[in-house]
Amino acid sequence: MKRGRRARMSRVLLNIVGVALTCVFLFPLYWILVSSLKTNAEIFQVIQTFWPSHANLVAYLDQLHGEFNVLTPLLNSLIIAPATLAISMVLAIPAAYGVARFAIRGKKVIIMGFLVTQMLPSTLILTPLYLVFARLRLINNYFSSILADSTIAIPFIILFLRTYFIGLPKGLEDSARIDGCNRFSAFLRIILPISIPGVITAASFAFIFAWNDLMYAITFMNKTSMRPLTAQIYHFMGKYGIEWNRIMAYGVILVLPVIIIFTFLQKYVIGGLTSGAVKG
């Protein structure tokens, strides 16, 4: 590693520029936060304020109790997202490994197949998928949302992890074989542990896909009590127009759990374990 004043200064510079870039990029988030603390009138006035003149938590308090309270939807989200995660990981990780490290005939067709399932806009999958779930008696059942969200997560995980698995050193399975393992236990004992960063990253994506899903959840579960957090937005978008401060507050509340989970997992997500120099 370079030492000396010049090297230290250039690293300090890197940090500063990094922070600046982040601030510029995240300005919209700052704007959400600031707007959530303003009143409606202040939001729309001609002279923009970068900090509310009277910061108030009205928009937040409204969400914690009463009509629009977030507790039940939050719990619903906390059921749907992890379950989607579990199902999609169990199905997709082996599949990703399969198309990465096996010589399968028609591999390209299979990869193409997974991609193809992503090619219809979700709004047009709604009706036939609803019919399928209706026949399976899953309407107004968490599983309809879970299974539907999995159809988004699975192909993504497969395509992402495939690339990741391809990048792993070739000899890993060989050395396991020498030890007498079959393919499957080699996968469990050697490949998976090494792939934790990739797996956790893929898992995070799957979780967010499910957490942020709105369309499938409200179509397949029309009972208000079963709706996830994303459906709350409709409370603020009625005929009376958009209640900006409440929507912004809602946005903050929606993102918060994910941020918390991510902060804990930061260490394991890709780039977390490799914070050393990768580029010269």
């Binding site: 009138a41 709604l126 019919l131 005929k239 009376y240």
Partner: protein, 399 residues
């Protein structure tokens, strides 16, 4: 012994029938938040008034509600009572969502007591497929202080409006705000102008029609109305008015409270929409009908009758800020005549025209709002835009 058993069995059965579980009637609507409160009161009142049926209301956001009806028709589950926006009623009736209640209505005291516009919107091919739940219409809101400062009276005709607009427009303030967005809302807002000129929906390329669209386009061209109106919903227009960026706006009674909340110190009032040949407004409001798949049509009909009863309706309307579709309720009460703001809307209601009704209304509406957008954004001349719109309408109606 056997006879005793049989007797007790019969008694239990009889008791069961007498104390039968009330059937559950599912009612779907799109009123969110506090808008749903007065309706819940109606539901509770119905449940308390009898024990054969138990009504349960379910809120779905508007877009989702319509999707659920469509999906439900394809093979999903539907409620017992469905609420729709009045211009959509004919489409859903044609699609088979609603039960034909013509005969039930004939035997009902409410028959013939409704305003013509709302009642018409529930019919399709001469049969009745629901009852109007509430009505509303559009009117002109104006900022009293701004008009006074500019030395103008609230305009009553298009000419007066054009003259006033010039005086009212200042840097940062437009004279008028409307909603000209590219969907039903835009059509809804444009119709009073279109119909006031004497034009009809089925003849969009008439000279009167072109005159109405040209009038609005000129307001934008001369800078009296913001070009952003093509992106504004009625709620956005309300924000413009309430924050003093527009001296006047065309909007409905559901925004009365919004203006009061957003601009508590503003001095404003209402007037009829300026006319060309005649005063017009357009009919808004929702209808409710029994679904064709409902297993309890009799109980559902009982709910609709309860809801449409004169006293229940009056209570609902006075607490919700909506207008009764029944003329006997509207005329029989002092409420609407005496309330300073509501009486202007009530007065305007008599000129309110329904949209359609026609099962192809969505196509007609789409043609109209597209023409509106094209003209206001200066993509096409009003004449050309309306000519193209007429082509689409002719095609839709012939299908």
């Amino acid at each position: 012994m056997k006879r005793l058993l049989l007797l007790s069995f019969a008694l239990v059965l009889l008791a069961g029938l007498c104390f039968a579980e009330p059937v559950e009637i599912k009612v779907w609507h799109y009123w969110g938040g506090f808008e749903a409160v007065p309706f819940q009161a109606v539901i509770d009142g119905f449940n308390a008034s009898q024990n054969k049926a138990h009504a349960v209301a379910q809120y779905l956001p508007r877009e989702e509600l319509n999707r659920q009806y469509t999906i439900g028709l394809a093979g999903g589950n539907l409620p017992d009572i469905a609420m729709v926006d009045n211009p959509d009623h004919a489409s859903y009736a044609a699609m088979g969502l609603f039960l034909d209640i013509t005969d039930r209505v004939k035997a009902w005291e409410g028959n013939g007591k409704f305003f013509e516009g709302p009642w018409l919107s529930c019919t399709y091919q001469g049969k009745v497929y629901g009852v109007p739940q509430n009505s509303n219409c559009l009117a002109l809101y104006y900022n009293v202080d701004m008009l006074k400062a500019a030395g103008v009276n609230p305009p009553a005709t298009w000419d007066e409006l054009a003259a006033a607009a010039k005086k009212l427009t200042k840097p940062g303030v437009y004279a008028l705000a409307i909603s000209a967005i590219g969907n039903e809302e835009g059509t809804f807002q444009y119709l009073p102008w279109l119909l006031s000129s004497g034009a009809t929906i089925t003849k969009l390329d008439s000279p009167e029609s072109v005159k109405s669209l040209t009038f609005l386009t000129n307001l934008v061209k001369n800078g009296f109305m913001s070009s952003e109106v093509i992106n504004w919903t009625q709620a956005d227009a309300e924000k413009q008015f309430a924050t003093g960026r527009a001296a006047m706006m065309v909007n409905g009674p559901w925004n009365l409270q919004a203006v009061q909340t957003d601009a508590p110190n503003m001095n404003w009032y209402l007037a009829k929409i300026p006319k060309d040949k005649k005063y017009t407004s357009v009919l808004g409001g929702e209808n409710m009908g029994i679904t064709a798949t409902s297993q309890y049509p009799n109980e559902a009909w009982a709910f609709l009758k309860y809801m449409s009863g004169t006293s229940v309706m009056e209570t609902y309307m006075t607490t919700s800020g909506k207008f009764p579709p029944r003329s006997d309720v509207m005329n029989g009460s002092d409420f609407w005549k005496s309330d300073r703001l509501l009486k202007v809307f009530a007065d305007q209601m008599q000129y309110a025209m329904p949209r359609g009704p026609h099962p192809r209304w969505p196509d007609i509406s789409n043609a109209i709002s597209t023409a509106l957008q094209e003209a206001l954004s200066k993509t096409k001349t009003p004449a050309q835009a309306l000519k193209d719109a007429q082509g689409k309408v002719t095609k839709a109606l012939s299908n």
